[in-house]
């Protein structure tokens, strides 16, 4: 099993003629927890969405768990089976129950028998601490509960890497903590995580590395204490002064 979970080599991406990712070089090790921060429009979401090919890169190479991502459909499917994603707006399937949301992919992608899938789903629903909601519909849950279900749903595919795209940005403040706690627990179990977020407390607590992006480039990265205590780039300092009051 390769030591590097995700590798970006000279990656460039354009939206039309807008150069949205510039010269991205990044190595993410197995079990590493990375927090990516930066002003809006800096390309942070685009970067992690390139990992599971929700966005396509035009230049450079992206290698996930030893598999190179390109137009090859089989490669993309394999990568998506091993990479889980949690979205800012949850994107739970409203016409299915919580349990069905979680078992959908294991049944149809991993071809798991229903009983096994149900047990698996209940296990992860217990891990995110809402097993009693299994037979409710997403519309009946609060935002924090929905996001936790989304995390469980991604975990049911037993991914090796988890991507989080601003998981708490759409939540009411009192629900942010329950989701962050879940993510902290996940991190403590050794999951490789890439998290785009503004929650710097989470970064300090859990991250192995904090990356600052601006205008499509990686501007600075460092261990959290060094990053927050001694930002070396002018733009990093500016950004931190704006969000840490």
């Amino acid at each position: 099993m390769p030591q590097t979970a995700v590798q970006f080599i000279g990656v460039n991406k354009w939206f039309g003629s807008f150069h949205v990712l510039r010269d991205i070089n990044l190595d993410v090790a197995q079990g590493e927890r990375i927090v990516i921060c930066g002003p809006s429009g800096s390309g942070k979401s685009t970067l992690i969405r390139c990992i599971n090919r929700l966005e396509q890169h035009q230049e450079g190479r992206i290698i996930v768990d030893g598999i190179e991502i390109n137009d090859d459909v089989k490669a993309i499917e394999e990568v998506r089976r091993d990479v889980g994603m949690v979205f800012q707006h949850f994107n739970l399937f409203p016409h299915l129950t919580v349990l069905e949301n979680c078992t959908l992919a294991p049944i149809w992608v991993r071809k798991m028998p229903k009983r096994e899938a149900d047990a698996l789903a209940m296990k992860f629903l217990e891990r995110v601490r809402i097993p009693e909601q299994a037979h409710k519909y997403p519309g009946q849950l609060s935002g924090g509960q929905q996001q936790r279900v989304a995390i469980a749903r991604a975990l049911c595919m037993t991914p090796k890497i988890m991507l989080f795209d601003e998981p708490t940005s759409a939540l009411d403040p009192e629900m942010v903590k329950e989701v962050l706690d879940t993510m902290v627990t996940l991190a403590s179990e050794g999951m490789t995580m890439l998290v785009v977020t503004h929650e710097m407390g989470f970064a300090r607590q859990v991250a192995d590395r904090v990356i600052f992006m601006d205008q499509g480039q990686i501007v600075e990265m460092n261990a959290p204490e060094a990053f927050f205590g001694n930002p070396r780039n002018e733009r990093t300092r500016l950004f931190l002064s704006q969000i840490l009051r």
Binding site: N12, W14, G16, S17, H19, R22, D23, Q58, E59, D208, R209, Q217, I218, V219, E220, M221, N222, A223, A226, R232, N233
Partner: protein, 373 residues
Amino acid sequence: MSIAYVRERDAPLRPPPAGTAGALGWLRENLFSSLGNSLLTVLLALVIGYLGWSVLDWAVLRGVWTGVDRAACAIDNAGACWPFVWEKFPQWIFGFYPIAERWRPVTAFLIGAAALVPMLMPGVGAKKWNALFLLVVYPVIAFELLAGGLFGLSEVETTSWGGLTVTLVVAITGIVFSLPLGILLALGRQSELPIIRSASIAFIELWRGVPLVTVLFMASVMLPLFLPNGVSLDKLMRAIVGLSLFASAYMAEAVRGGLQAVAKGQTEAGLALGLSRWQTTRKIVLPQALRISIPNIVGIFIGLFKDTTLVLVVSIYDFLGIINAGLQDSKWAAPQTANTGYFVAALVYFIFCFAMSRYALFTERRLEQMGRR
């Protein structure tokens, strides 16, 4: 290995790789993104090219442009028979209206257009007076101009009216009658009084559930039975009554949608200010509801405009009806005559309806931008 990193120099902002953006990139992404897609593009381009060429060829290249009768159009490999159109077109617009009096429909139309244009433009004010003129005063003026009998104008029976004139008369009168009736029905449907509510619902569902053809038959055949012995309603009026009742049901639903879209807080604010229920509805809720409903109301008008063609089944000659009748003229009997007639009809209807639907879209977008104030 240290994980610390600080960017020394900005990576250059570059243009995208050749062939991925700009014209070539657009082509690649939208037309030729995969083998299947490329094949589809080629196939569709061939089909559209063939169709477009056929129409152009028939209408213009092989079209007969001058002539006086069927001899000109009955030649081999002829395309569209345009002399037929040149000769018949005035009749298609005015029907059998006496030629000397044709200035009257034209005047009526011009007055209407002059009053309508400021109504349609969002910036121009005095909308209320404008609407009142259009809905109340103008129909009377137009009807007088067309029918005659007063002010020294000679009488022209409605049986002589035909063509585009009839289409416009029927459609516009239909809207003029169905709008107030529709508003009343919509309000009735919202009412808390059970009898009024059920009566409104029954009326609306009745007219919405039956085909327009049956309504026209009903108006044409049953209305004379309902009227006392001496009174008679001429054929055109009967059709207009039928069409108006039919349209009022759809109008009621459009206005109801508008009423429901007006925030409940508006009614509450009005009542809190001390206005009576009726005043609140009339002065606060209804104006907003109507403004919101405008795209749907224009849609209903477009539908009415198209539905006027159905008066053919009760022997009234609207634009389509008179073209159809003109096809029987043996003077122009040639293979392409009917095709030319239908082509022109389709073109005219398309231009009218497309323009109206673009206007409806325009008002809808404006409403969204205004935040439905």
